[in-house]
Symmetry: C2
Subunit: 141 residues, 2 copies
Amino acid sequence: MAAVKFSRQREYIRRNLAERRDHPTADMVYRDVRKAFPNVSLGTVYRNLSLLAKLGDIRRISGGEGADRFDGRMDPHDHFFCRVCGGVTDLPLADGGQILKKRAQKDFAGHIDRQVVEFFGTCPKCLKAGGAKGLSVIGNK
Amino acid sequence: MAAVKFSRQREYIRRNLAERRDHPTADMVYRDVRKAFPNVSLGTVYRNLSLLAKLGDIRRISGGEGADRFDGRMDPHDHFFCRVCGGVTDLPLADGGQILKKRAQKDFAGHIDRQVVEFFGTCPKCLKAGGAKGLSVIGNK
DNA sequence: TATGATAATAGTAATGATTACTGATAATGA
DNA sequence: TCATTATCAGTAATCATTACTATTATCATA
Protein backbone atom coordinates (compact mmCIF):
# COMPACT_ATOMS: atom_id res chain seq x y z
CA MET A 1 0.00 0.00 0.00
CA ALA A 2 0.89 3.64 -0.22
CA ALA A 3 2.76 4.03 -3.48
CA VAL A 4 5.98 5.99 -3.20
CA LYS A 5 6.07 9.03 -5.45
CA PHE A 6 9.21 10.70 -6.71
CA SER A 7 10.39 13.80 -4.90
CA ARG A 8 13.41 15.94 -5.67
CA GLN A 9 14.06 16.52 -1.99
CA ARG A 10 14.21 12.79 -1.33
CA GLU A 11 16.52 12.20 -4.29
CA TYR A 12 18.86 14.88 -3.04
CA ILE A 13 18.95 13.27 0.40
CA ARG A 14 19.56 9.82 -1.07
CA ARG A 15 22.47 11.05 -3.19
CA ASN A 16 23.89 13.14 -0.39
CA LEU A 17 24.06 10.12 1.88
CA ALA A 18 25.51 7.91 -0.84
CA GLU A 19 28.35 10.39 -1.37
CA ARG A 20 29.41 11.12 2.18
CA ARG A 21 30.97 8.81 4.76
CA ASP A 22 30.64 10.77 7.95
CA HIS A 23 27.38 9.24 9.20
CA PRO A 24 25.53 12.54 9.59
CA THR A 25 22.61 13.30 11.89
CA ALA A 26 19.28 14.44 10.45
CA ASP A 27 20.25 18.01 11.22
CA MET A 28 23.56 17.72 9.34
CA VAL A 29 21.71 16.39 6.30
CA TYR A 30 19.17 19.19 6.68
CA ARG A 31 21.90 21.83 6.50
CA ASP A 32 23.07 20.30 3.21
CA VAL A 33 19.62 19.97 1.69
CA ARG A 34 18.98 23.64 2.35
CA LYS A 35 21.73 24.49 -0.13
CA ALA A 36 19.60 23.06 -2.94
CA PHE A 37 16.17 23.69 -1.39
CA PRO A 38 16.51 26.81 0.76
CA ASN A 39 13.18 26.40 2.46
CA VAL A 40 13.05 22.67 2.89
CA SER A 41 11.55 21.67 6.21
CA LEU A 42 13.44 19.74 8.86
CA GLY A 43 10.39 17.52 9.10
CA THR A 44 10.77 16.67 5.42
CA VAL A 45 14.33 15.54 6.04
CA TYR A 46 13.28 13.37 8.99
CA ARG A 47 10.38 11.87 7.05
CA ASN A 48 12.54 11.01 4.07
CA LEU A 49 15.39 9.62 6.12
CA SER A 50 12.91 7.30 7.83
CA LEU A 51 11.35 6.34 4.50
CA LEU A 52 14.70 5.68 2.83
CA ALA A 53 15.71 3.54 5.80
CA LYS A 54 12.48 1.58 5.51
CA LEU A 55 13.05 1.11 1.78
CA GLY A 56 16.53 -0.21 2.52
CA ASP A 57 18.39 2.57 0.70
CA ILE A 58 20.10 3.89 3.79
CA ARG A 59 20.69 2.66 7.32
CA ARG A 60 19.83 4.27 10.63
CA ILE A 61 22.43 3.89 13.39
CA SER A 62 21.48 4.73 16.96
CA GLY A 63 24.67 4.76 18.98
CA GLY A 64 22.79 5.54 22.14
CA GLU A 65 24.30 9.01 22.43
CA GLY A 66 22.39 12.00 21.13
CA ALA A 67 20.80 12.10 17.70
CA ASP A 68 20.52 9.14 15.36
CA ARG A 69 23.04 8.86 12.54
CA PHE A 70 22.44 7.78 8.96
CA ASP A 71 24.63 5.70 6.70
CA GLY A 72 24.39 5.53 2.92
CA ARG A 73 26.59 2.46 2.63
CA MET A 74 24.59 -0.71 2.69
CA ASP A 75 27.38 -3.25 2.62
CA PRO A 76 27.61 -4.97 6.02
CA HIS A 77 30.06 -3.33 8.43
CA ASP A 78 30.33 -2.27 12.06
CA HIS A 79 30.58 1.18 13.59
CA PHE A 80 32.94 2.86 15.98
CA PHE A 81 31.80 5.80 18.13
CA CYS A 82 34.43 8.24 19.37
CA ARG A 83 33.56 9.44 22.85
CA VAL A 84 35.76 12.51 22.53
CA CYS A 85 34.66 14.11 19.25
CA GLY A 86 31.39 12.26 18.77
CA GLY A 87 32.41 11.06 15.30
CA VAL A 88 31.35 7.73 13.84
CA THR A 89 33.71 5.59 11.77
CA ASP A 90 33.16 2.50 9.65
CA LEU A 91 34.94 -0.63 10.79
CA PRO A 92 35.29 -3.88 8.90
CA LEU A 93 32.89 -6.48 10.24
CA ALA A 94 34.23 -8.02 13.39
CA ASP A 95 31.70 -10.83 13.17
CA GLY A 96 31.31 -11.47 9.48
CA GLY A 97 29.50 -14.73 9.92
CA GLN A 98 27.05 -13.50 12.52
CA ILE A 99 28.36 -16.20 14.83
CA LEU A 100 27.16 -14.34 17.89
CA LYS A 101 23.59 -14.36 16.66
CA LYS A 102 23.69 -18.12 16.19
CA ARG A 103 25.33 -18.61 19.56
CA ALA A 104 22.78 -16.43 21.32
CA GLN A 105 19.90 -18.09 19.48
CA LYS A 106 20.85 -21.51 20.86
CA ASP A 107 19.71 -20.88 24.41
CA PHE A 108 16.83 -18.60 23.52
CA ALA A 109 13.24 -19.56 22.80
CA GLY A 110 12.46 -16.34 20.95
CA HIS A 111 13.53 -15.41 17.43
CA ILE A 112 16.60 -13.25 16.86
CA ASP A 113 16.52 -11.52 13.50
CA ARG A 114 19.22 -8.96 13.96
CA GLN A 115 22.48 -8.48 15.82
CA VAL A 116 24.11 -5.11 16.37
CA VAL A 117 27.76 -4.76 17.29
CA GLU A 118 29.09 -1.35 18.22
CA PHE A 119 32.47 -0.18 19.45
CA PHE A 120 33.28 2.82 21.62
CA GLY A 121 36.50 4.57 22.50
CA THR A 122 38.86 7.23 21.17
CA CYS A 123 39.38 7.74 17.45
CA PRO A 124 42.86 8.09 15.92
CA LYS A 125 42.61 11.87 15.62
CA CYS A 126 41.57 12.39 19.22
CA LEU A 127 44.20 9.92 20.43
CA LYS A 128 46.90 12.10 18.87
CA ALA A 129 45.34 15.21 20.33
CA GLY A 130 45.76 13.65 23.79
CA GLY A 131 42.11 12.87 24.34
CA ALA A 132 42.71 9.35 25.57
CA LYS A 133 42.59 9.82 29.31
CA GLY A 134 39.17 10.76 30.55
CA LEU A 135 38.70 13.91 28.55
CA SER A 136 35.47 12.48 27.19
CA VAL A 137 32.74 14.91 26.32
CA ILE A 138 30.32 12.17 25.44
CA GLY A 139 29.29 9.07 27.28
CA ASN A 140 29.46 10.45 30.75
CA LYS A 141 25.83 10.49 31.75
CA MET B 1 35.65 15.61 44.40
CA ALA B 2 32.02 15.99 45.31
CA ALA B 3 31.48 13.53 48.15
CA VAL B 4 28.43 11.34 47.71
CA LYS B 5 26.00 11.65 50.59
CA PHE B 6 23.48 9.02 51.56
CA SER B 7 19.92 9.49 50.41
CA ARG B 8 16.93 7.29 51.10
CA GLN B 9 15.57 7.87 47.63
CA ARG B 10 18.79 6.66 46.05
CA GLU B 11 18.92 3.58 48.29
CA TYR B 12 15.39 2.71 47.33
CA ILE B 13 16.28 3.00 43.64
CA ARG B 14 19.40 0.90 44.07
CA ARG B 15 17.48 -1.87 45.84
CA ASN B 16 14.58 -1.71 43.42
CA LEU B 17 16.91 -2.26 40.50
CA ALA B 18 18.77 -5.04 42.26
CA GLU B 19 15.52 -6.90 42.84
CA ARG B 20 13.86 -6.68 39.44
CA ARG B 21 14.96 -8.17 36.15
CA ASP B 22 12.81 -6.33 33.65
CA HIS B 23 15.26 -3.58 32.72
CA PRO B 24 12.92 -0.70 33.52
CA THR B 25 12.96 2.81 32.07
CA ALA B 26 13.46 5.82 34.35
CA ASP B 27 9.72 6.35 34.34
CA MET B 28 9.01 2.78 35.39
CA VAL B 29 11.41 3.17 38.31
CA TYR B 30 9.79 6.50 39.12
CA ARG B 31 6.37 4.88 39.45
CA ASP B 32 7.82 2.42 41.96
CA VAL B 33 9.71 5.00 43.98
CA ARG B 34 6.51 7.00 44.39
CA LYS B 35 5.08 4.13 46.42
CA ALA B 36 7.64 4.82 49.14
CA PHE B 37 8.16 8.54 48.47
CA PRO B 38 4.85 9.86 47.14
CA ASN B 39 6.25 13.18 46.05
CA VAL B 40 9.62 12.16 44.74
CA SER B 41 10.59 14.08 41.65
CA LEU B 42 11.19 12.45 38.28
CA GLY B 43 14.35 14.51 38.08
CA THR B 44 15.56 12.90 41.28
CA VAL B 45 15.10 9.47 39.73
CA TYR B 46 16.99 10.48 36.59
CA ARG B 47 19.79 12.08 38.59
CA ASN B 48 20.22 9.04 40.82
CA LEU B 49 20.05 6.55 37.98
CA SER B 50 22.84 8.46 36.26
CA LEU B 51 24.84 8.66 39.47
CA LEU B 52 24.42 4.95 40.25
CA ALA B 53 25.50 4.12 36.71
CA LYS B 54 28.58 6.30 37.10
CA LEU B 55 29.38 4.64 40.43
CA GLY B 56 29.12 1.24 38.75
CA ASP B 57 26.17 0.02 40.82
CA ILE B 58 23.81 -0.27 37.88
CA ARG B 59 24.12 -0.26 34.11
CA ARG B 60 22.45 1.94 31.52
CA ILE B 61 21.34 0.20 28.32
CA SER B 62 20.36 2.28 25.30
CA GLY B 63 18.73 -0.04 22.81
CA GLY B 64 18.25 2.77 20.35
CA GLU B 65 14.46 2.64 20.70
CA GLY B 66 12.72 5.07 23.03
CA ALA B 67 13.81 5.61 26.60
CA ASP B 68 16.99 4.23 28.12
CA ARG B 69 16.73 1.10 30.26
CA PHE B 70 18.53 0.32 33.52
CA ASP B 71 19.93 -2.97 34.73
CA GLY B 72 20.80 -3.83 38.32
CA ARG B 73 22.79 -6.92 37.40
CA MET B 74 26.44 -6.14 36.93
CA ASP B 75 27.68 -9.54 35.80
CA PRO B 76 28.57 -9.40 32.11
CA HIS B 77 25.75 -10.42 29.79
CA ASP B 78 24.07 -9.35 26.55
CA HIS B 79 20.58 -8.00 25.94
CA PHE B 80 17.73 -8.94 23.66
CA PHE B 81 15.15 -6.36 22.57
CA CYS B 82 11.70 -7.58 21.54
CA ARG B 83 10.36 -5.46 18.70
CA VAL B 84 6.79 -6.51 19.40
CA CYS B 85 6.31 -5.84 23.11
CA GLY B 86 9.35 -3.64 23.69
CA GLY B 87 10.64 -5.88 26.48
CA VAL B 88 14.31 -6.43 27.22
CA THR B 89 15.68 -9.84 28.20
CA ASP B 90 19.05 -10.94 29.53
CA LEU B 91 21.01 -13.30 27.34
CA PRO B 92 24.15 -15.22 28.24
CA LEU B 93 27.22 -13.56 26.77
CA ALA B 94 27.57 -14.47 23.11
CA ASP B 95 31.13 -13.14 23.07
CA GLY B 96 32.52 -13.96 26.46
CA GLY B 97 36.11 -13.25 25.53
CA GLN B 98 35.46 -9.94 23.81
CA ILE B 99 37.00 -11.46 20.70
CA LEU B 100 35.25 -8.97 18.48
CA LYS B 101 36.87 -6.05 20.22
CA LYS B 102 40.29 -7.52 19.66
CA ARG B 103 39.49 -8.34 16.07
CA ALA B 104 38.19 -4.84 15.40
CA GLN B 105 41.13 -3.24 17.17
CA LYS B 106 43.60 -4.91 14.80
CA ASP B 107 42.79 -2.75 11.79
CA PHE B 108 42.02 0.39 13.74
CA ALA B 109 44.43 3.13 14.78
CA GLY B 110 42.17 4.46 17.52
CA HIS B 111 41.54 2.91 20.93
CA ILE B 112 38.51 0.70 21.51
CA ASP B 113 37.58 0.51 25.17
CA ARG B 114 34.12 -0.97 24.94
CA GLN B 115 32.08 -3.27 22.73
CA VAL B 116 28.31 -3.49 22.82
CA VAL B 117 26.43 -6.46 21.40
CA GLU B 118 22.66 -6.28 21.16
CA PHE B 119 20.08 -8.62 19.68
CA PHE B 120 16.68 -7.78 18.23
CA GLY B 121 13.68 -9.87 17.26
CA THR B 122 10.60 -11.46 18.77
CA CYS B 123 10.56 -12.74 22.33
CA PRO B 124 9.16 -16.17 23.26
CA LYS B 125 5.88 -14.75 24.56
CA CYS B 126 5.19 -12.66 21.45
CA LEU B 127 6.19 -15.57 19.21
CA LYS B 128 3.46 -17.67 20.76
CA ALA B 129 0.99 -14.82 20.46
CA GLY B 130 1.66 -14.82 16.72
CA GLY B 131 3.65 -11.61 16.69
CA ALA B 132 6.38 -12.94 14.45
CA LYS B 133 5.23 -11.67 11.08
CA GLY B 134 5.41 -7.94 10.79
CA LEU B 135 3.17 -7.04 13.67
CA SER B 136 5.99 -4.98 15.14
CA VAL B 137 5.07 -1.94 17.13
CA ILE B 138 8.66 -0.97 17.65
CA GLY B 139 11.54 -0.60 15.29
CA ASN B 140 9.57 0.67 12.34
CA LYS B 141 10.77 4.22 12.09
C1' DT C 1 24.21 17.52 70.32
C1' DA C 2 24.55 21.95 68.05
C1' DT C 3 26.55 23.91 63.93
C1' DG C 4 28.01 24.82 59.58
C1' DA C 5 29.27 23.25 54.90
C1' DT C 6 27.37 21.21 51.11
C1' DA C 7 24.98 17.35 48.74
C1' DA C 8 20.33 16.07 47.65
C1' DT C 9 15.63 17.09 47.11
C1' DA C 10 10.89 18.62 45.02
C1' DG C 11 9.01 21.34 41.82
C1' DT C 12 9.25 23.31 37.64
C1' DA C 13 11.13 25.28 33.44
C1' DA C 14 14.00 24.44 29.55
C1' DT C 15 16.28 21.70 26.03
C1' DG C 16 16.92 18.62 22.08
C1' DA C 17 15.39 15.15 19.01
C1' DT C 18 11.67 13.62 16.72
C1' DT C 19 6.84 13.17 15.23
C1' DA C 20 2.17 14.91 14.12
C1' DC C 21 -0.91 18.09 11.98
C1' DT C 22 -2.60 21.15 8.13
C1' DG C 23 -3.61 23.40 4.03
C1' DA C 24 -1.05 24.01 -0.30
C1' DT C 25 1.66 21.88 -4.04
C1' DA C 26 3.47 18.44 -7.06
C1' DA C 27 3.61 13.78 -9.16
C1' DT C 28 1.32 10.18 -11.61
C1' DG C 29 -2.09 7.30 -13.99
C1' DA C 30 -6.44 7.52 -16.60
C1' DT D 1 -6.56 17.78 -18.72
C1' DC D 2 -8.23 15.94 -14.67
C1' DA D 3 -8.61 13.47 -10.40
C1' DT D 4 -6.18 11.18 -6.95
C1' DT D 5 -3.05 11.16 -3.56
C1' DA D 6 1.81 11.42 -1.94
C1' DT D 7 4.71 15.04 -0.54
C1' DC D 8 5.70 19.48 0.86
C1' DA D 9 6.66 23.74 4.13
C1' DG D 10 5.51 25.54 8.25
C1' DT D 11 4.44 24.93 12.71
C1' DA D 12 2.75 22.85 16.93
C1' DA D 13 3.09 18.97 19.88
C1' DT D 14 5.39 15.05 22.13
C1' DC D 15 8.78 12.53 24.53
C1' DA D 16 12.97 11.76 27.08
C1' DT D 17 16.11 14.09 29.58
C1' DT D 18 18.59 17.90 31.80
C1' DA D 19 18.96 22.41 34.16
C1' DC D 20 17.61 25.68 37.58
C1' DT D 21 16.27 27.17 42.34
C1' DA D 22 14.92 27.63 46.86
C1' DT D 23 14.48 24.36 50.63
C1' DT D 24 15.81 20.24 53.23
C1' DA D 25 18.82 16.38 54.66
C1' DT D 26 23.29 14.46 55.57
C1' DC D 27 27.41 14.37 58.09
C1' DA D 28 31.99 15.71 59.88
C1' DT D 29 33.52 18.32 63.50
C1' DA D 30 33.41 21.64 67.29
